[in-house]
C-alpha cells in the first residue's frame, strides 16, 4: 500500500505551490480515478505517488518505506517490479516490435524467457495477438496504447499509474482501455490509479478523487 502525507510541491522559481498538502492512501486492489480541472495538479500528484518525482515536501511511503530514502538501485527495482506506467502519449520504442516492447521490463529484470508466454497472454487480452511482430508505426494509436498497457503489466506490478491514457483516443478505443483496466484490477488485483477528464470513464473507478487547485476536494 501507498501512503502519501502532507504532499507539497512547489516548482522552482514559483511562489505558489501546485500541491498544497495532499494526504492519500492507496490500498492494495484499489481502482481509483483522479479528476479535476486542467492545471489543478493531477499529473503532478501522480508523478509524486509513482516515484518519478522525488523532489517535494511531505512523504510517500511504499509499504512503510519512504521513497525519498531509497537509493538509485532500490528505486529503479521498485519501478521495475512493482510499478507500471501508462502515459497519455503511448511511448513505445520505435525500433522494437510490439512484443519486444512489451517484454522490455522483463529484459531489465532478466526474466525474458519466463515472461514470454505471459507476454503472449497479454497480447491476447488486449486483442492484438496477430500483431506481435509489428513495429509501432504500423499500429494505430489505440493499438499502440494497448501495447503500452500490456508492457506496464508484464511484470505483474502491484501498482498501475495512468495519466490520461485515453486522452488521445476516440471513445470506442477509450472504452476498450478502461475495460482492460477493470479486468486487470479484478484478475491480478492490480492497484490502479488513473487521471481522466472524461466523466463517464471516471465513474468506472471504485473510488473517485476530485482535486481542485492543489488540494483534494472530495473522495467518493
Amino acid at each position: 500500500m501507498i501512503r502519501a502525507q502532507g504532499l507539497i510541491k512547489t516548482f522552482e522559481g514559483q511562489q505558489e505551490a501546485v500541491l498544497k498538502g495532499v494526504d492519500l492512501s492507496l490500498n492494495d486492489g484499489d481502482f481509483i480515478s483522479l479528476m479535476g480541472r486542467s492545471g489543478s495538479g493531477k499529473s503532478t500528484l501522480l508523478y509524486l505517488l509513482s516515484t518519478l518525482d522525488r523532489n517535494f515536501e511531505g512523504s510517500v511511503l511504499y509499504d512503510g518505506v519512504s521513497i525519498k530514502e531509497m537509493g538509485v538501485q532500490e528505486i529503479h527495482r521498485l519501478r521495475n517490479e512493482q510499478i507500471g506506467f501508462v502515459f497519455q502519449f503511448h511511448y513505445l520504442l520505435s525500433e522494437l516490435s510490439a512484443i519486444e516492447n512489451i517484454l522490455l521490463p522483463a529484459r531489465k529484470a532478466n526474466l525474458l524467457d519466463k515472461k514470454l508466454s505471459f507476454a503472449r497472454d497479454l497480447l491476447e487480452q488486449v486483442g492484438l495477438s496477430d500483431k506481435a511482430d509489428r513495429l509501432p508505426h504500423h499500429l494505430s494509436g489505440g493499438e499502440q496504447q494497448r501495447i503500452a498497457i500490456a508492457r506496464a503489466l508484464i511484470m505483474q506490478p502491484k501498482y498501475l499509474f495512468a495519466d490520461e491514457p485515453t486522452g488521445n483516443l476516440d471513445s470506442k478505443n477509450g472504452e476498450i482501455i478502461f475495460d482492460l483496466f477493470s479486468q486487470f484490477n479484478k484478475e491480478y488485483k492490480t492497484t490502479i490509479i488513473y487521471v481522466t477528464h472524461d466523466q463517464q470513464f471516471g465513474m468506472k473507478a471504485h473510488r473517485r478523487i476530485l482535486i481542485n487547485d492543489g488540494i483534494i476536494d472530495k473522495i467518493s
Binding site: 508523478y47 519501478r79 502515459f87 520504442l93 531489465k108
Partner: protein
C-alpha cells in the same frame, strides 16, 4: 542494454556504416602505412646498425701547428719562417693496446675488430675509381658486422690474413668491369700500386658501401699504407645497439680519439625516420579524429531524438547507468567492429604491397619485394587508437543521456 544498442545501430544502417567506414579507413591506413614505413625502416635500420660497427673508434685527424713538433728537444730553438700546416701524415690510434684491454674487460662489448681504413685508387686497365679499403682480420670482422650475409660470391673469410686478396662491392666491381679471380691494382696515393686478387663480391644494398669499398686483410692494408702495426680504427659491437650513443659518450670523456656511435653517424637518416613517424601518426590521428567526431555528433543527435525513450526506460526501472551503456555500447560496437575490420583490411593491403616488385637490394629484401613489417605492436597500437577514439567520443553523449531527468522529459511531453 546490448540488445537495444544493436537495435539502434541497425535501425540507422546508413549512419552506422558511414562511421564504421571512417574507423576502418583510419585503422587500415595506420596498419598499411606503418607496415610499409616500419618495414623500410627496419631494413634500413638493420643496415645502419649492423653493416658497420655499433661504435667506431677512429684516429683523430690532426692539423699540424707550430706546437706539433714541440716534443722534440730541439724544438725550442726552432724559429718557423713558414709554420708547418696541413694534415698530420699518419693518423693512427695512439694506444691500441690500451683500447684492446679496455674493450676486452667491458661486459657490454660483444666483439671488436682493429682496422686500417685508407682512401685508395683502384686501377683496372684504363679504368680508375677512387674508394676506400678496409683492412681487418676476417674472423674478427665477421663477428662485428654482418658482411658475410651480403656475399653474393666467395666467402668473406677468403681475404685471409695475408696474400693480397680482396672482396669488393658489386657496384664497384661493375664500374671497374672486373671479374672474379681477376687482379686489379690499388694504390694509396703515396706508395707504388700493389696488385690485389678479387676473391669475392658483396651486395649490401647500401649504395655508399657497394660503390667504393673493398675489404682485405689487416696486414695487406698496413703494407699498402706503408705503416705496419698501426691501426686507424676499432669497430666495436655491443650487446644493446640502442645504448651505443650512451656508451660512446662515456668513452669520449676519457679518450683523445674520435668516437662515433651508429646513431651519430646515421643521424640524418634517423631524422628522416622521425619525420616519417610524425607524418604517419598525424595522418592517422586526423582520420581517427574525423571518425570520432562522427560518432560524437551522431550519438549526440540520437540522444536528443531518443529523450522519450530514455524517460520511458527510466520509468520501467532502467537505471541511469543502463542509459549510459545504451549509447556507450554503440560507440564500443562501432569501435571494435571498425577496428577489427580495419586490422584485417590493413593486413591484406600490407600483404598485397609485399607482392610489389621493386629494384632488388634497395629498400626491398634480396628477393626484390618490398619489405613490410607485420610487427604485432602496429596492430596493437591500431586497435587501441580505434577503441580509444570511439570510446572517448561516445562517453560524453552517453553520460549526458544518463544524467537526463525523466521527469523533465515527461513534463515537456517528450520533446
Amino acid at each position: 542494454m546490448m540488445f537495444l544498442s544493436l537495435k539502434h545501430l541497425l535501425t540507422r544502417k546508413k549512419q552506422s556504416v558511414l562511421i564504421l567506414l571512417g574507423i576502418i579507413i583510419g585503422t587500415s591506413a595506420y596498419v598499411a602505412i606503418s607496415g610499409m614505413m616500419l618495414g623500410f625502416q627496419t631494413k634500413l635500420m638493420d643496415q645502419l646498425v649492423n653493416n658497420d660497427a655499433h661504435i667506431r673508434i677512429s684516429a683523430r685527424e690532426e692539423l699540424l701547428t707550430s706546437e706539433s713538433l714541440d716534443s722534440f728537444p730541439e724544438a725550442e730553438h726552432v724559429f718557423w719562417s713558414l709554420p708547418p700546416s696541413g694534415r698530420k701524415d699518419s693518423a693512427k690510434i695512439q694506444y691500441p693496446l690500451g683500447w684492446f684491454e679496455k674493450l676486452n674487460k667491458d661486459h657490454d662489448v660483444i666483439a671488436f675488430v682493429p682496422q686500417v681504413n685508407i682512401n685508395v685508387i683502384f686501377n683496372r686497365a684504363s679504368v680508375t675509381v677512387a674508394g676506400r679499403m678496409i683492412g681487418a682480420d676476417p674472423l674478427k670482422q665477421e663477428r662485428v658486422s654482418n658482411i658475410q650475409q651480403y656475399m653474393i660470391s666467395g666467402a668473406f673469410k677468403d681475404i685471409g690474413t695475408s696474400g693480397s686478396r680482396i672482396i669488393l662491392g658489386k657496384a664497384l666491381m661493375q664500374s671497374l668491369g672486373a671479374r672474379q679471380s681477376e687482379t686489379i691494382l690499388i694504390t694509396s696515393g703515396k706508395g707504388p700500386s700493389m696488385p690485389f686478387k678479387i676473391v669475392g663480391v658483396f651486395d649490401t644494398g647500401s649504395k655508399n658501401i657497394d660503390e667504393n669499398t673493398v675489404f682485405t686483410s689487416l696486414g695487406d692494408a698496413q703494407k699498402l699504407r706503408g705503416s705496419p702495426s698501426e691501426i686507424t680504427d676499432i669497430a666495436v659491437k655491443i650487446e644493446q645497439p640502442d645504448l651505443a650513443e650512451i656508451k660512446s659518450a662515456e668513452w669520449k670523456t676519457s679518450s683523445h680519439e674520435k668516437i662515433m656511435s651508429w646513431q651519430e653517424s646515421s643521424a640524418s637518416i634517423l631524422s628522416v625516420f622521425k619525420t616519417q613517424d610524425i607524418v604517419r601518426n598525424s595522418m592517422t590521428i586526423s582520420i581517427i579524429i574525423v571518425a570520432g567526431f562522427g560518432i560524437y555528433n551522431i550519438l549526440s543527435i540520437l540522444v536528443t531524438q531518443k529523450k522519450r525513450d530514455i524517460a520511458i526506460l527510466r520509468s520501467m526501472g532502467f537505471t541511469p547507468n543502463d542509459i549510459v551503456s545504451l549509447f556507450f555500447n554503440q560507440g564500443l560496437i562501432l569501435g571494435i567492429l571498425g577496428g577489427v575490420i580495419g586490422l584485417g583490411l590493413g593486413f591484406i593491403i600490407c600483404f598485397l604491397m609485399g607482392q610489389i616488385e621493386i629494384v632488388p637490394g634497395r629498400m626491398g629484401s634480396s628477393t626484390g619485394r618490398m619489405i613490410i613489417s607485420y610487427d604485432l605492436i602496429i596492430y596493437v597500437k591500431a586497435i587501441i587508437i580505434a577503441l580509444l577514439s570511439s570510446l572517448f567520443s561516445s562517453i560524453f553523449p552517453a553520460r549526458a543521456a544518463g544524467s537526463l531527468d525523466p521527469m523533465d522529459i515527461i513534463r515537456s511531453g517528450g520533446q
